[in-house]
């Protein structure tokens, strides 16, 4: 896509794209077999001591620093590569615990990759221990304004009265009453958001090994028109029954206030590995 003339030397050079690191005893060759068919990338396991790097050989013509910025601004390329990164790790996760690497971690040679795996063995094993037998799940909470308002009307006489007014008033008065109701709902919602988010996080944290709050997503990103009031990530045992039970019970409790919960995952434990490996 980019002009070949700018990068003639590296055209055939191979880089090693590292998706993540797993324990050699967990990761089997099964990890790599079905992947080759499903994605463009052939996935290999590079074993170094007790660890394996989950890698693909990639063309440096595609991934080198000089061309990467241009690639990254190509939305199609980026989505395809990001999804591939995720799919490879999800596939590994079916059989083995994995420490996920950030997008586009590439080594120029197999020797450099192996050197990394052996030199940082201690930190990698510690990171792996933390996520062993566990997966990450995401829980998002959305508020349905109409159901929230209906809940208020049920509990609060003033709200009920105003709601009746709104439904019976006509013309300009109806408009004003509707505005007043909307403002009251908005001001109630103001306090409710934070309170509900705190309650949801505490309940889920109690059923998980660890958890944290992520940034809220705008409707354009979440794909739902309701407002997101909480976005959390949790580290849970690979058997998620207990967590899902807690989630279902929580969903029933907050449902009356117009809150819906959405579960995503299992994900590789992206949010529960160190951002950087400590120096050794």
């Amino acid at each position: 896509m980019s002009s070949a003339a700018t990068e003639p030397l590296r055209r055939n050079s191979v880089g090693w794209y590292l998706y993540g690191v797993a324990a050699a005893e967990d990761a089997s060759t099964r990890v790599t077999s079905p992947l080759a068919a499903g994605t463009e990338e052939e996935v290999e396991l590079v074993a170094e001591g007790p660890l394996v790097g989950v890698v693909s050989r990639v063309s440096l013509h595609e991934f080198d620093e000089s061309v990467l910025p241009e690639r990254l601004s190509d939305a199609n390329w980026l989505e395809q590569k990001i999804r591939a990164h995720e799919q490879v790790l999800e596939r590994v996760l079916e059989d083995a615990s994995v420490v996920p690497c950030r997008f586009c971690t590439v080594y120029r040679s197999e020797a450099e990759l192996r050197r990394f795996l052996s030199e940082r063995r201690g930190a990698l094993e510690a990171a792996l221990d933390r996520v062993r037998g566990k997966v990450e799940v995401g829980v998002k909470a959305f508020i349905d304004r109409d159901r929230f308002a209906a809940g208020l009307a049920k509990e609060n006489d003033d709200f009920r009265e105003l709601t009746v007014h709104v439904s019976t008033a006509e013309g300009g008065r109806a408009y004003l009453e509707r505005r007043r109701l909307e403002q009251l709902v908005a001001s109630e919602l103001e306090g409710f958001r934070g309170e509900a988010a705190g309650r949801i996080h505490a309940r889920l944290l109690a059923a998980a090994e660890d958890g944290l709050a992520l940034a809220l997503q705008a409707p354009e990103l979440s794909g739902r028109e309701e407002e997101m009031i909480f976005n959390g990530a949790y580290l849970v045992t690979a058997n998620r029954d207990a967590f899902e039970e807690a989630l279902a019970s929580l969903a029933r409790d907050v449902g009356g206030d117009g809150v819906d919960l959405e579960l995503t995952g299992p994900w590789p434990a992206y949010n529960f590995v160190p951002e950087e490996l400590g120096a050794e």
Partner: protein, 105 residues
């Protein structure tokens, strides 16, 4: 919407691109690989990609399907046009809603 809805929460839907981005771009171990996007670039990239998704979804809601063709996002002109439309959408989103209310009356 989902088989899990009866249990009170939604699950089992294909991963939203936004959720994948949130993790693959922002999280995961950062290794000093030989080649790596630096963190600042990742932040810029994340913002940019989120805007791209956001604008595409907003457009879909509005019934505009200009981004559907493969050629669009991959072509340079397409991207420029997309950025221009995105800018307009952002401006529109920044406006107070009074004009909407007036048209409601």
């Amino acid at each position: 919407m989902s088989s899990r809805e009866l249990e009170g929460y939604l699950s089992g839907q294909p991963a939203q691109l936004a959720d994948v981005l949130e993790r693959v771009l922002d999280k995961g171990i950062v290794i000093a690989g030989d080649i790596q996007i630096n963190l600042l670039d990742i932040e810029l990239l994340t913002v940019k990609i989120r805007l791209l998704i956001a604008s595409a979804d907003k457009a879909r809601e509005m019934g505009i399907d200009w981004w559907e063709g493969d050629a669009f996002l991959s072509s340079r002109n397409g991207r420029r046009e997309l950025e221009e439309r995105l800018r307009k959408l952002e401006e529109a989103a920044g406006l107070p809603t009074t004009s909407q209310e007036e048209s409601d009356r």
